[in-house]
């Protein structure tokens, strides 16, 4: 029987939650790297026992940990993230030039074909790559250098590259998202890049439909349709059917189109999930009710999923990398909250149950479906 392994990054360590395919009884291991912020963990698609983790604190900086046995043991690998060449400047919140400075790794994306290749999205925003299992890292400088880098400004969480999507059909295509710069795509394995933000409108910037400057929170793609991308922007849920060349809004009847997470059902490429958040100044669910919204029409029309989720006095947030889906026949959907809960639905979102209730604030959730 298949199993699932949920990788949870929190403000004070990592936790690994495992279950069989019923997803009813769970074992919890952790905290791994206790006391450290773990922004993200992710396993290799070709070797699920190879897991990379981003571990950091303001005190002691960044570490990358690697496991080759499914998270039972870990060892630190390379943690030197040096920008290529002259780092230059981006804009600070007040519009003044600010030297690029490495702060942390937000997201790790292992290659679809080689467990030793892994990408890292970092703050201040840049894309790094390791070809040796995380021992050494080099920047793909064409992203920062493509022309608009000096205009990028940080979002409230920093100038972070938080989303990396590897195209399963076009091996050289990489799509990344940066807060608050927007979405960028490379079709040559990261050498050259273009901004792909046409159709986005953001009220918080002087030119609402500028080429860059949009606070994209997260992007999701179904592997069978890599041309279709779903985006949760600061405000607005968006969709592209041409690989990001153009976007259209699909917020429809959501109670709020502000939010952080977005994901796609494992077997239904037009079934999309978001968690609406009240506003950019009130980072909690509208009306104190934690609701996942599901669209089975690729956006526009949404239904609230509430069975098993708190429907009163709930004021948690769900951060951008804290939702994932498994690939079991009955698709499992998972998300973690800043209140320390990790919820699972083993029936595509119809019903929910907490796996754990009292972890530190959850920063990220990934799931591995194992044989």
């Amino acid at each position: 029987m298949s199993r699932v392994r949920v990788l949870v990054g929190t403000r004070k360590g990592a936790f690994i939650l495992t279950s069989d395919g019923t997803r009813e009884q769970w074992e919890v291991s952790g905290p791994h790297f206790a006391g450290w912020e773990v922004y993200h963990l992710k396993g290799s698609p070709v070797d699920p026992d190879r897991i990379y983790a981003s571990q950091s604190t303001a005190w002691f900086g960044q570490l990358i940990q690697r496991s080759d046995d499914g998270g039972r043991t870990w060892r630190p690998v390379g943690n030197e993230f040096a920008y290529a060449g002259e780092a230059g400047t981006h804009q600070f919140y007040d519009g003044t030039p600010q030297p690029w400075k490495f702060n942390r790794v937000w997201h790790l994306e292992p290659s679809l074909t080689d467990p030793d290749i892994v990408y890292a999205g970092v703050e201040d925003a840049a894309l790094f790559r390791s070809d040796d299992g995380g021992r050494s890292w080099h920047e793909l400088p064409g992203l920062r250098g493509h022309g608009s880098g000096s205009q990028w400004q940080p979002g409230a969480g920093g100038l972070c590259l938080h989303t990396i999507i590897l195209d399963p059909r076009q091996s050289g295509r990489i799509t990344v998202a940066i807060s608050a710069a927007g979405t960028f795509r490379s079709d040559d394995s990261g050498k050259t890049w273009q901004a792909i933000n046409r159709g986005l409108r953001s009220e918080g910037i002087p030119d609402e439909d500028a080429e860059v400057g949009h606070c994209v929170h997260h992007i999701a793609m179904h592997p069978s349709r890599p041309e279709t991308l779903f985006m949760q922007k600061h405000w607005d849920v968006m969709r592209s059917d041409d690989g990001g060349d153009s976007w259209r809004e699909i917020s429809g009847d959501l109670p709020s189109d502000f939010g952080f997470v977005i994901d796609v059902h494992a077997h239904e490429p037009e079934t999309v999930y978001v968690v609406p958040i009240k506003s950019d100044s009130e980072h909690f669910p509208p009306d104190g009710r934690l609701r996942v919204y599901r669209s089975r029409t690729g956006g526009g029309e949404w239904e609230p999923l509430t069975d098993g989720l708190p429907q009163r006095d709930c004021y948690v947030n769900v951060l951008r990398d804290a939702m994932a889906v498994d690939t079991l026949e009955d698709c499992g959907v998972y998300f973690g909250t800043t209140g320390g809960q990790v919820y699972v639905s083993a029936d595509s979102g119809d019903t929910w149950a907490p796996i754990v209730r009292d972890l530190p604030p959850v920063l990220s959730v990934e799931v591995q479906t194992l044989p």
Binding site: G35, W36, T57, A58, W59, F60, G61, Q62, L63, P76, N79, E80, A82
Partner: protein
């Protein structure tokens, strides 16, 4: 009460013995870095010549490569902002890295303390 203070008792048994012209410096790491380096208690490092903060940290990072970047910046070797260096009841954090360490540190009477700055979180 158990408490992971940064004044670990005991020593790292794998530490080298001093040879002529070298000092055996005792280094106390904060709990997070002890766990990362997989050491209990103090670390003892052999340093050639009169030890300085730079030579002690160089020796520390050579013995425990996983500590590189956690105390000092990889490239500039500047102390990370939330890390402090104490010895002999003095704050050496702002001393030049090549200044000689106090004699009691050089002769092993007193340890050199790497401390995570006291801040919440």
């Amino acid at each position: 009460m158990t408490r992971e203070k940064s004044t670990g008792k005991g020593t790292d048994a794998a530490g080298p013995r001093p040879s002529p012209g070298t000092s055996l410096v005792r280094v106390v790491l904060p709990a997070h870095l002890r766990r990362l380096a997989q050491v209990d208690g103090e670390v003892r490092l052999s340093v050639t010549g009169h030890p300085t903060q730079r030579s002690v940290l160089d020796a520390l990072e050579a013995r425990y490569p996983m500590l590189r970047g956690t105390i000092r910046d990889h490239a500039t070797k500047r102390r990370r902002a939330f890390v402090r260096f104490f010895a002999c009841e003095r704050d050496l954090s702002h001393e030049p890295p090549d200044a000689p360490l106090p004699a009691p540190v050089a002769d092993g009477t007193e340890p050199y303390l790497v401390v995570g700055a006291m801040a919440g979180g």
